[in-house]
């Protein structure tokens, strides 16, 4: 009895030790590159409450797949390894470590939630040779101050907030600006730059109110806003809460136009609110170059649909594509003798890169990794979406 038990214990210990020895990957000259493949790791919120943020990942992966269908880059096809971070910092760190240490990818393209990307920033700083392209996280703290291996091809929250304020002030006579926002990190990262931009114009927010995710009624917030008599209201809200706000502001007679952030699509908001009077004066920061139904955008929509036939087609679906195209461009330029250093050097040489998806051209320099610095606004004119840089004169 004694012997068998002791033996069992030791074999159990040995088995445990062996079980965790990971599969050895083939030795490679450059990590993630083989004669016929380039391994790109991606992560995003495939699950969880923010799973809508997986749409940019689908869009970006569609780009990579289409490149493969055209023969790849210098004879190499892109192999995607996709992980889920569910918007959780701990999971994002695990996903990144898995991609870099275990899956041995060439580079990582990922991150929709700013909290998750901020959590892996120290990790990326420790492995400065691994290139990282942000998928859709917009917090400006990600790329300011600049980290050599983190590239940010998205209009940051600072850019969006500043554009929102600038647009609001193009309304003739607009002086009183009010803000309604979530108090979470996403909201704050818009609120602070917006207040700073107002201050730069010598103005202050006449009333700032908070509406939290999951609340079903905005009465007290809207009444406070109304009492402050704003000329324009900046709304930093997710779609469900934005819907509630728009309806309630119609109900209680807040006559000011609403300017809101990127990530909501104007057509969808109009459908959700289902009250034309409430969305007549809604202006959405628009990160894309054109409306989804325009002829110029047809090919991108078709591309997305080809590889993701069952997924929703929204503004978000296209927000990761420019980053993917930038990656492809840099891979091409780096040539068949591909290394990580060459790849990042090529990224740093991108000037006014504009494949026609995003609202402004993309420029990376070694000092500036926040690539997009402009954006426009979209609104419903009649029943067609229309892009504008200034408050429309007809209103």
């Amino acid at each position: 009895m004694q012997f068998t038990k002791r033996r069992a214990m030791w074999s159990l210990a040995a088995a445990t030790a062996l079980a965790v020895v990971p599969a050895l990957s083939a030795a490679q000259a450059t990590t993630g590159v083989s004669p016929d493949k380039i391994r790109i790791g991606m992560f995003g919120p495939l699950t969880g409450p923010t799973a809508v943020g997986s749409l940019p990942l689908l869009g970006a992966s569609a780009i990579y797949k289409s490149v493969n269908d055209r023969g790849g880059i210098h004879g190499r096809k892109i192999e995607l390894v996709i992980e889920d971070d569910a918007c959780d910092p701990n999971k994002a760190i695990a996903a990144t470590k898995k991609l870099v240490s275990q899956e041995q990818v060439f580079m990582v393209h990922g991150g929709w939630c700013s909290g998750a990307v901020m959590a892996i920033k120290p990790e990326l700083a420790r492995t400065p040779d691994v290139p990282f392209m942000v998928l859709g996280a917009a917090n400006s703290a990600i790329s300011t101050p600049v980290t050599p291996n983190i590239f940010h091809p998205i209009a940051t929250t600072a850019t969006v907030a500043r554009s929102m304020v600038d647009f609001a002030l193009t309304k003739p006579g607009a002086k009183r600006v009010a803000i309604i926002s979530h108090s979470d990190e996403w909201g704050k990262s818009h609120l602070e730059p917006a207040l700073a931009q107002l201050k730069a114009q010598g103005l202050e927010s006449v009333e700032t109110v908070y509406l939290e995710r999951g609340q079903v009624d905005a009465t007290s917030q809207v009444l406070r806003l109304k009492a402050a008599k704003p000329d324009v209201v900046l709304a930093v809200l997710y779609p469900p809460e934005l819907t509630i706000y728009l309806r309630d502001s119609l109900k209680y007679g807040v006559k000011a136009p609403t300017v809101t952030t990127q990530g909501v699509s104007i057509e969808d908001m109009v459908k959700r609110v289902a009250m034309p009077a409430a969305t007549k004066e809604l202006f959405v920061f628009y990160p894309l170059a054109d409306t989804l139904d325009s002829p110029a955008y047809r090919k991108w929509v078709d591309l997305y649909r080809k590889y993701n036939p069952k997924d929703p087609v929204e503004t978000l679906s296209f927000m990761g594509m420019t980053g993917a195209l930038a990656v492809v461009e840099a891979l091409e330029k780096a040539g068949p003798d591909l290394t990580r250093e060459k790849f990042m050097a090529e990224l740093n040489k991108l000037r006014n890169f504009d494949p026609g998806i995003q609202s402004g051209p993309l420029t990376f320099t070694p000092e500036q990794h926040a690539g997009i610095s402009a954006g426009k606004v979209i609104y419903m004119s009649g029943d067609k979406p229309q892009i504008a840089a200034k408050y429309p004169a007809s209103k």
Binding site: P49, A51, S54, Y210, Q215, D217, T219, S220, R247, D311
Partner: protein, 289 residues
């Protein structure tokens, strides 16, 4: 402003009251605190969405479908998950409802996780002026529906034979079964009714809030606060607590700070349980230890 805050507070509070009423039914009939009720609420709304958008049925039929679906879900839950555990410590039962809520959320996230689905209001139209306040027709519908349900409850439990039988079954199950009342069947039926009430609340408010898998969690806490405030296990308490909470949230947001609206319910819970644990209308209830 005060009048408006009160009026819309009552409208929102009516939704809280409906959810709290449903939870109270379940608590009274089986002494189980149902941590899954927010998901019944959510499933009611999703039921309409699925019927309308996937199966193409009309709004009215979809609502009936959703209510029948939730009736079945409630009955099944009691039969399959709760009844076998009825002698287990209440920690186990509570955890079972938590596990179920996870499951239902996971399933709906699996199918609808990537979008936020709109639902048209039952009564559309321009805002209505009423005294110093403004209402949407949908808000009036919510308040009216809740009032009808509450009145119906009162009449049913106080005036009808069946209502008294159910009260007997929940207050003294052994005695009730001794006189031939089918206690398990009644418990089963009450779970069905409770689930339907949660679903009805979801269907009523979904046009305002849009439909998404996490919409239930928020509502659960509000219902808890309503029940604690009004008196845990008391039907009029649930209604009073719900409406009071709705008004309180609006008053706090309007006069103190919009940042506090979020935790008003939690503060209410702590205040009530520390100062007056039985709530406004409550009597001492036996606690399943």
């Amino acid at each position: 402003m005060l009048v408006q805050l009160l009026v819309s507070g009552i409208a929102v509070g009516s939704v809280y009251a409906l959810v709290a009423l449903g939870m109270t039914i379940l608590y009274r009939s089986t002494t189980v605190v149902n941590f899954c009720h927010g998901e019944f609420f959510m499933l009611g709304a999703f039921g309409v969405v699925v019927a309308q958008q996937l199966l193409g049925w009309s709004y009215g039929v979809s609502i009936v479908f959703a209510l029948v679906l939730l009736l079945a879900v409630g009955v099944l839950t009691e039969r399959v998950l709760i009844r076998p555990l009825r002698n287990a410590p209440f920690v186990t039962l509570a955890m079972m409802t938590v596990a179920l809520s996870y499951l239902l959320k996971g399933v709906s996230r699996f199918f609808y996780g990537r979008e936020v689905v709109p639902l048209p209001p039952l009564l559309a139209g321009e805002p209505i002026e009423l005294g110093g306040a403004v209402l949407f027709a949908q808000d009036a519908l919510i308040v009216g529906f809740t009032a009808v349900v509450v009145a119906g409850f009162f009449v049913f439990f106080q005036r009808t034979q069946l209502g008294k039988v159910i009260q007997a079954a929940s207050q003294a199950p052994r005695g009730a079964s001794l006189v031939g009342i089918n206690v398990p069947l009644l418990r089963n039926a009450m779970w069905g009714v409770g689930a339907v009430m949660g679903a009805a609340a979801g269907i009523l408010i979904a046009p305002n809030t849009l439909v998404y898998p996490d919409m239930g969690g928020h509502m659960l806490i509000r219902a808890f606060a309503a029940m604690c405030l009004g008196g845990f296990g008391s039907f009029p308490g649930a209604v009073l607590g719900g409406v009071t909470l709705g008004v309180l949230e609006n008053l706090v947001g309007g006069f103190v700070s919009s940042a506090l609206v979020e935790i008003t319910a939690y503060l209410v819970i702590v205040a009530v349980l520390v100062l007056r644990p039985q709530g406004i209308l409550g009597e001492g209830r036996s606690v399943r230890a």
